[in-house]
């Protein structure tokens, strides 16, 4: 009798801990967001590297290359803004 009751109470403690751990898993940023953030970071880095290259060989066909770089930068800014808006909607609900 006592053994069964003790078993039930230990079981309830485990149940509480399992539910708490599930809640903890809900608290962090989801994996997909970390991946998206990492990709945006990588793209920003590539853009900066390209800008350095353009500036280093200023004597060559500068105007064309510079124009393309600016277009890519604008595209990146657009993506970044969309991502930020989506995150704000999800986490803040507005």
């Amino acid at each position: 009798m006592a053994f069964v009751l003790i078993l039930i109470s230990v079981f309830m403690v485990f149940l509480a801990i399992i539910a708490h751990r599930k809640l903890l898993a809900l608290s962090g940023e989801p994996q997909i967001y970390a991946e998206v953030a990492s990709e945006l970071q990588q793209r920003a880095h590539d853009l900066l590297v390209r800008k350095d290259h353009i500036e280093a060989r200023a004597h060559l066909d500068l105007a064309d290359e510079n124009e393309r770089w600016k277009n890519d930068l604008a595209q990146y800014m657009e993506d970044y803004e969309q991502e930020a808006l989506a995150r704000r909607r999800l986490h803040l609900g507005r």
């Binding site: 009751l5 039930i8 109470s9 809640l23 903890l24």
Partner: protein
């Protein structure tokens, strides 16, 4: 003597906790104006307090009888209520697809601690009957209940400030 005084003080504070929970819930709900993680946790907290005060008189008469099964009725009911509350918080978060804030995690952790303390005291009573845990039980449960209030305030203000900063930037 000193223990008695501390116990009296804790008891008098604990009587106010349910009102404090309700006030906190109303204040946070009126400021946030939506079902967020913090309001869900506080709502469940208020619900639990209400259910506890409803079943307390019957449980007291039940627990005053001699026999292990009556003792288990007392501890088991509180443990069951705590588990149900954690489950409710989890369920609300899952169904509303909201991220668990620090407030919700603190409340859930408090329920886990209450469950552990109750289980330890029951196991002690069922096996050794040394009543070593009786004192810890009597002190820790009001302490957890009272300590929740400043912790909730602190974590909620922290989250509120973070959200306000993000909103300003966005």
């Amino acid at each position: 003597m000193l223990n008695e005084q501390i116990f009296e003080l804790l008891k008098s504070f604990e009587d106010v906790t349910s009102i404090m929970y309700i006030v906190l819930f109303l204040v946070i709900f009126f400021i946030e104006k939506r079902m967020s993680s913090a309001t869900v946790a506080l709502l469940v907290l208020c619900l639990c307090k209400g259910m506890a005060s409803l079943i307390l008189p019957e449980l007291l008469t039940l627990a005053s009888q001699v026999g292990l099964q009556y003792k288990f009725a007392w501890y088991g009911c509180w443990m069951g209520l705590n588990v149900i509350c954690i489950g409710l918080i989890l369920k609300f978060h899952l169904s509303h697809k909201i991220r668990a804030s620090n407030v919700a995690i603190t409340v859930s952790l408090a329920y886990v601690m209450l469950t552990v303390v109750q289980a330890l005291d029951f196991i002690d009573r069922a096996t050794l009957n040394s009543s070593a845990f009786a004192m810890i039980y009597q002190v820790s449960i009001p302490t957890i209940n009272i300590g929740l209030i400043p912790l909730i305030c602190y974590f909620w203000l922290q989250d509120f400030r973070k959200a306000a900063l993000m909103y300003k930037e966005g």
